[in-house]
């Protein structure tokens, strides 16, 4: 059953990662320019400069950040610095200039670099893992159950659960998380920052920290010297005259600086705390290592003292990018198959699995299944069973300064149900939307249509405004059913 769901979010960028990529180049004799790996990258990223620059899909806020920084600093250098250089010291514009360049450098470095994306598993790897999972779980007794795909490891005495990512088909390393906005698993995932237009992860965390730290200094610097300028002028010619001389820009400059100071300085303070305790934003939000969870709960990654933690985070070795975006695709290299199964069955022509689209399809289909109960059962289960429910096991899509969401993971205490939380953030920076439909996996021919949503979890439901009506209806239907 094909639900033609219009996807307002999808834009033309998808055409660059097209179905062509799934067919390997069979004959190397054909005269074809070898394609670079970034051109067939399965995640939702944008690449520029022939793969040298890598950013998230939504970059509007990043340009805003750039404009704010450049314009504010530009106004400062143009109008305040001449006066301050002459009446105070020329060191003022010099230091300001150095700070400004450092801020820009670290911002661009954060935004353009690979945050530590984990490449998706090759088909052989995925098959091998599936086999191992099946062996580990044994054959399910009766019916079709999807066992929870987690693996436990003991790290420095602390038990850590590694979760299986259905999109990337890997067991995520500890501290890695799947970003739903970029559709990638990122190592040591901190958060997705719309202000820099990229995820913040293992490889660019230090640049991000340096950026917000230097930006705090810059904003405080500009703020302080603008005030100094006004004060100096008002000593000479009176306060009102001083304001009259430069009427328009002071309020704007001061206002921007004032708000930036508090939010940026606050953010720097927060990240300084995170670095000194060797935690990620994700872990802090979820309280993974807080002592409230248990007396024996501690952070296994911390080195014990603040100095070592800071040095490790900021001065440690910089791991290389794992995705090799500028490498050429070899004809015999196994390409990680984008999870296309569900999409093609639902009739979409895109070979990419778009989290929202597939999710909507699954939810809508399940709503219809559960509502109608009988006649569709014979047809649907075949479709449903062969594609595992897509989880976007993600963390947020949020504003940096407003604390980002952690993963609203429902406890997988009921082993016969895999309840996955799906985050579908649609707007960056403004709202935190997430949808946690409780999905019962549909067994072929054995759909317990009586009480499919018999859980012990509370269903949280947010209705994002930007969802299309079909999705809203189906979701409302699910909520109604779950409340029965």
């Amino acid at each position: 059953m094909h639900l033609g769901v219009a996807e307002p979010m999808r834009d033309c960028e998808y055409s660059q990662i097209s179905t062509r990529s799934s067919t390997p180049m069979e004959s190397p004799h054909k005269k074809r320019t070898p394609r670079r790996k970034w051109q067939t990258f399965p995640g939702r990223n944008k690449f520029y400069c022939n793969g040298r620059i890598m950013m998230a899909r939504q970059t509007g806020v990043f340009y805003l950040t750039l404009v704010l920084i450049v314009v504010t600093s530009g106004l400062f250098f143009a109008f305040d610095c001449p006066y301050l250089a002459s009446s105070l010291t020329p060191a003022v514009p010099a230091i300001g200039g150095v700070l400004f360049l450092f801020v820009l450098g670290t911002l661009l470095r954060t935004s353009f670099s690979d945050p530590g994306v984990l490449p998706r598993a090759t088909p052989d790897e995925a098959a091998d893992l599936e086999r191992q999972i099946d062996i580990a779980n044994g054959s399910s007794s009766g019916g079709y159950r999807r066992p929870p795909r987690t693996k436990e490891v003991i790290i420095n005495g602390q038990t850590v659960k590694l979760k299986y990512c259905f999109t990337c088909k890997i067991f995520r390393p500890p501290r890695a998380s799947h970003c739903s906005l970029c559709d990638n698993c990122v190592e040591r995932f901190d958060h997705h920052c719309p202000w820099v237009g990229n995820c913040v992860g293992k490889r660019n965390y230090r640049f991000f920290y340096m950026f917000i730290l230097s930006l705090s200094f810059l904003t405080v610097f500009i703020f302080a010297f603008v005030i100094t300028h006004v004060i100096l002028r008002s000593h000479r010619s009176g306060f009102l005259n001083a304001l009259k001389d430069s009427p328009a820009r002071y309020p704007s400059c001061v206002v921007v600086c004032f708000f930036s100071v508090w939010s940026i300085v606050g953010l720097s303070g927060f990240h300084t705390y995170l670095i000194s305790s060797n935690q990620t934003t994700n872990e802090d939000i979820k309280g993974s290592w807080s002592s409230k969870r248990g007396k024996d709960n501690y952070n296994p990654y911390s080195y014990g003292n603040i100095f070592t933690n800071c040095c490790a985070a900021l001065c440690g070795p910089l791991p290389p990018s794992l995705i090799d975006r500028r490498g050429f695709i070899q004809p015999d290299t196994p390409q990680p198959a984008p999870p296309t199964n569900g999409i093609t069955m639902y009739g979409s022509t895109q070979s990419q699995s778009h989290m929202c689209d597939q999710d909507q399809c699954i939810q809508s289909t399940k709503f219809v299944l559960q509502a109608a109960a009988t006649p569709l059962l014979q047809n649907e289960p075949v479709v449903m069973a062969s594609e595992p429910p897509l989880p976007a096991r993600t963390s947020l899509g949020g504003h940096c300064t407003s604390l980002p969401l952690g993963q609203p993971t429902p406890p997988t205490s009921t082993p016969n149900l895999s309840c996955e939380a799906d985050l579908i953030p649609h707007q960056e920076g403004a709202h935190h939307h997430f949808l946690t439909p409780e999905e019962a996996p549909s067994p072929p021919g054995m759909l317990p249509c009586g009480s499919p949503l018999d859980h012990s979890h509370a269903v949280q439901f947010y209705s994002p405004a930007s969802q299309d009506s079909l999705h809203e209806d189906s979701v409302r239907g699910l909520v109604k059913l779950s409340s029965v």
């Binding site: 984990l118 790897e125 420095n156 040095c311 070795p317």
Partner: protein
């Protein structure tokens, strides 16, 4: 005795890929790159346990060296910070240097030890440092065995 593969080229041309074994990461010491030294059962008939373990242990030491947080890495980090990270455009980081050493080591191991036994190790960096992929090849020319997916049948077919 079956055909011995004396170099990797020969291996690729005259053998067919039977199956692949994946050595997963060992996270018991945190997020550092380390692979499990558990000997997979599929390789039981193909290679001695000690040789395999030596290879994996050496790889683990290389990775530990790359990720070591010590004097040199601090120096590199501070220098990079001081130059607003522009220095990374011109200089190769220590990690990258060690990765080159690793690729050379793997190639050498393949040529000397693994290819003669019909095996091939893929550099973990090509698999996103998730796994060490060992491809098991079967001799295409050996009688009685076709491109079956079982690796053990090949040894009996010889």
């Amino acid at each position: 005795m079956a055909t011995e593969f004396h170099n990797l080229q020969e291996l690729r041309h005259s053998a067919s890929l039977a199956t692949k074994v994946f050595i997963q990461r060992d996270y018991s010491e945190g997020t550092i790159c380390k692979f499990q030294t558990k000997f997979p059962s599929e390789l039981d008939s193909r290679i001695e346990r000690t040789l395999f373990e030596d290879t994996v242990k050496t790889l683990n030491t290389f990775y530990a060296e790359a990720e070591k947080i010590g004097g040199q890495s601090y120096l590199e980090g501070c220098l990079a910070c001081a130059t607003a990270y522009i220095i990374f455009l011109c200089m190769e980081t220590r990690y990258e240097k060690v990765l080159k050493k690793i690729s050379k080591y793997i190639q050498e191991q393949n040529e000397k030890i693994y290819a003669p036994r019909g095996l091939l190790i893929t550099d973990p960096i090509e698999r996103g440092m998730r796994v060490i992929e060992i491809s098991i090849f079967e001799d295409r020319g050996s009688s009685g065995s076709s491109s079956s997916s079982s690796s053990t049948s090949s040894s009996s077919g010889r």
